[in-house]
């Protein structure tokens, strides 16, 4: 198998190869390379290799101008997972509470509607998107910029394990390849390449998430951007995308429409009258507990009870003392 040899050669030389090298070194490497042995080694580690020439290789990814020679897979899911309709959710690692919450609820709702949520397992928006999808018992795939055995970043090791349990952790780099700064932009082309649409949740200017968006635009894929506060540097990149003509995303439905998927009926909320009043106020704008108490005239104790009821019903979330409605 030519692709596996290519990927292994790239890993051994710490290089990113676009096509097959014509060098004598590669010829020598290929001559001494036994793909059957290598595949067996991978299988022993619990990994798989999906070559570009394999009919199961995702069509969308094969169509980009620089597809990887193959993908190393870790996880329980079938390779057919990658061929299903997928959406990329990307954004800043250092994101605001707002960005985290949007990424989470988008991940949850898009996965619940049946889309595969693809992201990069980075901190911040990426991790939240994966978590949202897992919360909805949906499928999600993480694309790494290092070997699939390399839990990077270490903080998301447990998350990677959870993703592998029901979805896939994929990488074009052979197991053992260490993360390097130049590998992440290359990884982003796979994130965008696997999906028909890419959602940028929150990005600074010159953020890595914009690289994913650029790849998606180059390949003629749909790009959504979540509008952010115009005064916030954290949203400068995503707002700039909107100015350039990206589709503004206001709810998960916007994405589902472009895939021609009907949104699942939202579950009817069964909450008490007090909680319903509070929910109405939270839907107007996010607010802290004291602001809500003033607006609704409830005592601090009563209000806390109502907010917990809403949290348990999945209608609001709280972060850093601010309550927000889930769309």
């Amino acid at each position: 198998m030519n692709e596996l040899a290519l990927a292994s050669f790239a890993a051994a030389n710490d290089a990113h190869l676009v096509g097959e090298p014509r060098s004598a070194r590669f010829a020598a490497f290929k001559a001494g390379f036994d793909s059957a042995v290598e595949l067996e080694r991978l299988r022993a580690l619990g990994f798989r290799f999906l070559a570009r020439s394999d009919p199961g290789f995702p069509t969308l990814l094969r169509a980009i101008h620089d597809p990887p020679p193959g993908l190393f897979l870790r996880g329980e899911a079938e390779t057919a997972l990658l061929a299903r309709p997928a959406v990329a959710i990307v954004g800043a690692r250092a994101c605001s509470a707002y960005g985290r919450q949007i990424a989470r609820s988008l991940g949850r709702e898009l996965a619940a509607a049946g889309l595969v949520v693809v992201s990069g397992l980075a901190r911040g928006v990426d991790a939240e998107a994966h978590r949202g999808a897992l919360e909805a018992s949906g499928t999600t795939a993480a694309v790494l910029g290092c070997g699939i055995d390399r839990d990077y970043p270490a903080a998301n090791r447990e998350l990677a394990r959870q993703i592998a349990a029901t979805g896939l952790v994929v990488s074009e780099y052979a197991p053992g390849v260490e993360p390097a700064p130049w590998r992440f932009p290359a990884r982003n082309r796979i994130v965008a390449g696997l999906c028909a649409a890419t959602v940028v949740v929150e990005a600074r200017e010159r953020s890595g998430a914009l690289i994913s968006a650029d790849f998606a635009l180059e390949e003629g894929r749909e790009v959504f951007a979540v509008p952010g506060e115009i005064t916030s540097a954290l949203s400068a990149g995503s707002n700039a995308l909107l100015r350039l003509g990206a589709t503004p995303l206001t709810c998960a439905q916007d994405v589902l429409e472009s895939y021609g998927i009907a949104a699942p009926e939202p579950p009817q909320l069964e909450v008490g009258a007090t909680a319903a009043t509070v929910l109405e106020r939270v839907r107007e704008s996010a607010a802290g507990a004291d602001e809500l108490a003033r607006a609704t005239g409830l005592g601090a104790g009563e209000l806390a009870a109502a907010l917990t009821e809403l949290e348990l019903a999945g209608a609001v979330t709280q972060e850093e003392g601010i309550y927000r409605a889930c769309s």
Binding site: R93, S232, A289, D290, A293, G299, A305, L312, Q318, G321
Partner: protein
């Protein structure tokens, strides 16, 4: 006769003096430390300055039991009186009816030393009902349950023992002189945090206030004592004993009725917080016994300090082991802590932006071990108050809150309200739905009970559980 302090315990020490012929000399035996052994110079000068006779003979003073380590200068007065009794300058029989504590100045004046309250208590237990001490210690000693004989000078003590002088009666301590703690009326807005403070005061829960700087976290924490009920007499004795041994009991106002409030700075060492030293002294945690320990900027404390606090938080005691033995200090305090949400303090503040790297943020949170966070029943994120809240009029003062707290405490002390079936069901659902550990579940159950008691309900209803859940550990504090 006097008493030595071992930790908080006061042990009876008999001071014997023997005078016999031979080369003039003065020796103190019985495991005295340096400050105590130096007593011989002070005692000798003191006796000479008091125009009494220093026997030019061979003098041996024994501090019994000889195996107990004695430290400090509090034995001076007893040694001087024992020497005077041995040389028949005062009546040994009359002296034997008294305990004595105090340091001697070179001119014979009597100076106060720490621990007079504990020593007086010990004297009472040994069946003595009078203690000779410095006037500054008299009030403290009287609280220990014995009659204090205040003497300014060694000569006065001798005159008293010879029956030539009646020392003035000791003024009873003035209860009203304790300064009032700051009042809740000063806090604008912050309804949720105030509510949490009320719950904490009622149920004796530990409280963690998190949020950006300038939101009034410390201000709130400092106002917890104002809504706590006063100490019960038995508790007050415990507190006075600790404060007396630590030497922080104000001499003019030794009576404590208000709950202690201690707020050590975050640079404090482990020994300063939990106690320590060669002859162990109580630390801040023990000084806050039956009161409030405020740790401002919790993550700024050294990690060993925070970990050392886990033992007292669990069983209300600190045991300090030393080569010479073990000292037990009670430390049943209520912990209130404040912290920012990130090292740059920008997080949670709409007007600022957090500039912390993920690594820095992780290091910051790593400082608070899960085990420590688990000790906080109530965790409240305090957001920045809005301008209109700050402009609003004064808030509810402490007095009505204190009454509600007292009523709630009374209810909790009588019968613990049980959860209804619906409340149980809600709690189980929450454990599934939210990241809530077994310990977290127990915490929520405790707080729910307090909420029910405050509401005057006979059982814990779902709304009480729901409210308690709102004060659980937020996800941004877990790594």
């Amino acid at each position: 006769m006097t008493h030595a302090l071992v930790g908080l315990e006061s042990r009876r020490v008999e001071v014997e003096a023997h005078i016999d012929g031979g080369l003039p000399g003065f020796a103190i035996v019985g495991l005295a430390d340096r400050a105590c052994a130096e007593a011989k110079h002070r005692v000798r000068s003191g006796i000479c300055s008091a125009q009494l006779e220093w026997p030019l003979k061979r003098i041996t003073v024994n501090l019994a039991p000889a195996g107990l380590r004695k430290e400090g200068s509090g034995f001076d007065l007893s040694i001087a009186l024992a020497v005077l009794a041995a040389s028949q300058q005062v009546s040994p029989e009359r002296l034997a009816e008294h305990a004595a504590i105090g340091e001697l100045a070179l001119d014979g004046r009597v100076r106060p030393v720490r621990g007079a309250f504990a020593v007086a208590e010990g004297a009472r237990r040994s069946g003595l009902d009078r203690i000779i001490c410095a006037p500054e210690s008299a009030c403290e000693a009287e609280l220990g349950g014995v009659e204090a004989i205040p003497v300014r000078h060694l000569a006065e003590a001798v005159a008293y023992l010879r029956g030539e002088l009646r020392p003035p009666p000791v003024d009873p301590p003035d209860e009203a002189a304790e300064p009032d703690p700051p009042d809740l009326a000063d806090v604008r807005g912050q309804e949720r945090a105030r509510r949490a403070l009320e719950l904490a005061a009622t149920g004796g829960h530990n409280l963690l206030l998190a949020g950006p700087p300038g939101t009034g976290k410390t201000m709130l924490g400092r106002r917890l004592p104002s809504i706590l009920p006063p100490l019960e007499p038995r508790e007050a004795l415990e507190v006075m004993r600790i404060h007396s041994v630590a030497g922080v009991l104000p001499p003019e106002q030794p009576l404590i009725t208000r709950r202690p409030f201690r707020a050590p700075h975050h640079s404090a060492s482990t020994a300063a917080i939990v106690g320590g030293g060669a002859g162990p002294r109580p630390g801040e945690a023990s000084l806050a016994h039956r009161g409030v320990l405020l740790l401002d900027e919790l993550p700024e404390f050294q990690r060993p300090v925070l970990e050392a606090l886990r033992q007292p938080l669990e069983d209300g005691m600190i045991s300090i082991a030393r080569a010479a033995g073990q000292a037990l200090f009670p430390a049943r305090f209520q912990l209130v802590a404040t912290m920012n949400l990130c090292p740059c303090a920008g997080r949670g503040d709409p007007a600022a932006e957090c500039s912390c790297s993920p690594q820095r943020l992780a290091a910051f949170r790593d400082k608070l071990s899960r085990a420590l966070l688990d000790r906080f029943d109530l965790i409240v994120t305090v957001p920045r108050p809005q301008a209109e809240e700050l402009a609003a009029g004064p808030s509810e003062p402490s007095a009505p809150v204190r009454e509600r707290v007292a009523a709630g405490r009374l209810r909790l002390s009588r019968v613990l309200p049980a959860r209804t079936a619906e409340a149980d069901e809600l709690l189980s659902r929450a454990v599934e739905r939210l990241p809530l550990s077994g310990r977290g579940r127990a915490r929520v159950a405790r707080v729910a009970r307090t909420a029910a008691a405050l509401a005057g309900a006979d059982a814990v209803l779902p709304e009480h559980v729901a409210e308690a859940l709102a004060y659980r550990s937020p996800k941004e504090l877990s790594v």
